[in-house]
Amino acid sequence: MFLTSKKDLTARIMRDKIYNLLLQDKRIDGRHPKSLRSITIQTDLIAKADGSALVTMGGTKILTGIKVEVGSPFSDRPDEGIFTVNAELLPLASTSFEPGPPDERGVELARVVDRSLREGKALDLKKLCLVEGEKVYVLFIDIYVLDYDGNYFDPALISALAALATLKIPKYEVVNGEVKKTGETFRLELTSLPFTVMMGILGEKFLVDPQIEEEKVLDVSLIIGTDEKGNIVSIQKNTSGPIPVNLLDTILDTAVEKTEEIRKKFLQEVPVKLAAEGEAAEK
């Protein structure tokens, strides 16, 4: 594209329709430009996972499960547990997803969720160490997009956090340097609750949490993550197109406001155990 041109005729017509609605602060599904779609969160629904959550955000449906294993720490962080995030855009979720190993979109989704959790300091990885330099917990956070109606980023992070919040980690005892399952489990304290909100820009207007028809015609979109203190903890411009610099201030303010709305919803729905303030502040 040259900056914002979209040449395809049908796309143009849809773009005009969506843009004209936006000028009146309206959207094709009746929302206000700054309204999120409705969010539902179910946790603990996969008994074989150590933690799991099914999250819907409008018509987008995402299932995340976590398996806990014991492994070796990274040599430069001998006293910290490890987590990895994978994301699969399942072909049953959309005609635009193909079977096979994650393409660049799946990789991007996983990495944006990973960065938001990591830089948003959701976990205290030191709590996941069993034997320093030897044995630590390894959390495999696996995200599956089951139905894709636009913006998989925000619900993916919500489902990852909901699965983490309700995670039951097997307890181990250390006997002569070897670790053995005790049969009990413990809950992980979260040290922060970072959430993201996807922003779409069309002309000089913007909207939050685009659904699929909107996504297709936006000039550009970006995902912004913030924590409960209003810090920005992750940004990802995820499509081609220009972001006018002068729009960014308002967009950022809106991001802080909308992620706070998600955070409230999350705290209502998910029995999260938050670390005491003092602890959470360290790193």
């Binding site: 179910q42 629904l45 996969i46 008994a47 074989k48 996972a49 150590d50 799991s52 099914l54 018509g59 449906k61 299932l63 499960g65 976590i66 398996k67 294993e69 994978n86 699969e88 399942l90 072909p91 049953l92 979720a93 959309s94 005609t95 079977p99 190993p101 495999f140 696996d142 599956y144 089951l146 139905d147 894709y148 109606d149």
Partner: protein
């Protein structure tokens, strides 16, 4: 969970590990039309086994050189989430998933009027989100409903269930522990209107007479499942409320 073999899988009252009688199915939940973005879809639970299926098509086969001049290609992918099983399943397709995708596809091909859609493809995706025995039969049961939901013409629905042998006794609809510690697992899928078997495998050891009894037991289960499928389809075409898993 499932870490060690229970002392007995059938108790003195003839009850199974989860309280069922030998010829009893697990609680079954079926919903059709649960995923918006596919042309047809279904969600099926057999006890702890939970499966989504979605169908796309008929649509132009892609890449084109795979298209057949006289009929549609039916593609099928049976896949499990990493956390659906006891030990984390590695990402990507395991050899087991490759094999099951093949036998499920062959079952579906048997009842589908592929000749009506030359040069097209019909893509069936099955996603097992929790595995507690009988995932291929549950997946196939869901897939045939998803095909129906997509309006693909079929000679019949496919209903499927596993039978097995546990502590020497034939039982219907194995759960995971029964599969793991039992003596035989035999998944059976049928097109009930034709009294025809469309999928059949045996992993384990049965005498010919046990095989025959097992098959009869499977047929009994299949006729129950077939009814539930028809009810679910009827419900689908009269209403469409959102799914709660």
């Amino acid at each position: 969970m499932g870490d060690s073999k229970p002392e007995r899988l059938i108790d003195e009252n003839g009850r199974r590990i989860d309280g069922r009688r030998p010829d009893e199915l697990r609680p079954i939940k079926i919903e059709v039309g649960v995923l918006d973005k596919s042309d047809g879809s279904a969600y099926v639970e057999f006890g702890g086994t939970r499966v989504f299926a979605a169908v796309f098509g008929p649509r132009e086969a892609h890449p084109k050189h795979l298209a057949l001049p006289d009929r549609a290609i039916l593609n099928c992918r049976y896949h499990m989430t990493s956390f659906s099983v006891e030990e984390r399943k590695p990402l990507g397709m395991t050899r087991r998933e490759v094999e099951l995708s093949k036998v499920i596809r062959e079952a579906l091909e048997t009842v589908t009027f592929l000749e009506e859609f030359p040069r097209a493809s019909i893509d069936v995706y099955i996603e097992v989100i929790q595995a507690d025995g009988g995932t291929r039969t549950t997946g196939l049961t869901a897939a045939s409903l998803a095909l129906a939901d997509a309006g693909i013409p079929m000679a019949d629905l496919i209903a499927a269930v596993a039978v097995g042998k546990v502590d020497g006794q034939l039982v219907l609809d194995l759960c995971d522990v029964e599969d793991k510690y039992g003596e035989a697992d035999m998944p059976v899928a049928m097109a009930p209107r034709f009294n025809s078997i469309v999928l059949l495998q045996l992993n384990g050891r049965l005498t010919p007479s046990e095989f025959k009894k097992g098959l009869a037991l499977a047929q009994k289960g299949i006729s129950e499942i077939y009814k539930l499928q028809q009810e679910a389809l009827k419900k689908r075409f009269s209403t469409s409320k959102p799914l709660e898993v």
